[in-house]
């Protein structure tokens, strides 16, 4: 079925057709869930956060002024909901030991070496993401996974463009340090 655009469905919802919200949820659920997951690092919590964000968006749909795109507005809700959740529920710091040293741990019976390597890299990035703070996690996720510009990220987070660049640079350095350490550990394991 053709998607008629967010504005069309928002108008339908405001006119009383609540079922139109399902089209909006269907269209944006993966990106909302992905952002929540990258920030909180847990699938169950990410599902709850994404659901909570959609509910918040529904409740305040009347206040959506259509100045920015609906996606930007929704991202802002997901970002703030997830950051607040993580801040309230501060977890213990992960140690390098929490990450398995061998990529072969990810190889299942039906996966090729390339798939296993991709899985390993993905898990490694997730691990590194969980080692940086929640704000940096959000920024990295919006920049690298959602592929948004610093201007769009600034709209979502309320952080200035120049500050985003600085924070992204620090986040990148921290993540690469963690990745390097894990990779070294992996090499030692193989020797």
């Amino acid at each position: 079925m053709d998607y008629k655009g967010d504005i069309y469905y928002i108008e339908q919802i405001l006119a009383g057709n609540n079922n139109s919200f399902s089209y909006i949820v269907d269209r944006h659920k993966d990106k909302a869930y992905n952002l929540a997951f990258r920030i909180c690092g847990n699938r169950e919590e990410a599902e709850e956060l994404a659901q909570d964000s959609f509910l918040k968006a529904y409740r305040s749909l009347k206040s959506f002024q259509m100045k920015s795109s609906f996606a930007t507005w929704l991202y802002r809700i997901v970002y703030n909901t997830s950051i607040s959740h993580v801040r309230i529920k501060k977890k213990g710091v992960l140690s390098l030991e929490d990450f398995p040293a061998d990529a072969t741990d990810f190889i299942g019976s039906n996966t090729t070496e390339e798939e296993a390597d991709n899985e390993y890299r993905s898990s490694l990035v997730n691990f590194a993401l969980q080692k940086i703070n929640e704000e940096e996690r959000g920024l990295v996720s919006l920049y690298y996974y959602e592929e948004l510009s610093t201007e769009e990220i600034s709209d979502i987070t309320g952080i200035s463009k120049s500050n985003i660049k600085v924070k992204l640079f620090r986040a990148r350095q921290k993540m690469l340090e963690i990745i390097e350490k894990v990779e070294k550990k992996r090499l030692i394991y193989h020797e």
Partner: protein, 138 residues
């Protein structure tokens, strides 16, 4: 982006593949819609304050109009309004009680005050009738 930034960016991009986004679990939309149905009342249009207070507002407006016209219409010309009203009342075979207000209160009230008092009584009935109609609508 300077050279160091570009370098770290390139290195990190080796590990990050945007296509590998985490997908929302099955049944996500239906779960959200269940929550939305429970929340349905939030989007019901709120009754506007002027609509909420329509009955007393109409009463106030009509009362004010009556009072203003009672004071502004020159004393000799009250018949323009009073005569048609009196004719209607005569047709209804309704007569006002003959009360001498001046002797009761020892005040010299303009004759138009009689109509104002009658107007207020009519408005009270009108107000009750409107209140009943609106209550039934709700």
């Amino acid at each position: 982006m300077n050279n160091i930034e570009k370098h770290t960016d390139d290195l990190l991009r080796e590990f990050i593949t945007p296509e590998r986004i985490e997908k929302a679990p099955d049944g996500f939309t239906s779960k959200v819609m269940t929550l939305v149905r429970l929340e349905k009342s939030h989007l019901l249009p709120a009754e506007r304050p002027w609509k909420k207070n329509l009955v007393p507002m109409i009463s106030v407006v009509v009362t004010v109009l009556l009072l203003v016209s009672a004071f502004l219409i020159p004393s000799g010309k009250t018949d323009i309004i009073a005569n048609p009203v009196l004719n209607i009342i005569k047709k209804l075979k309704f007569s006002f009680p003959d009360i001498n207000i001046s002797s009761l209160f020892r005040l010299s009230l303009p004759s138009v005050m009689m109509y104002v008092i009658v107007g207020i009584i009519i408005l009270t009935v009108f107000d009750r009738a409107l209140a009943r109609i609106f209550k039934r609508e709700k």
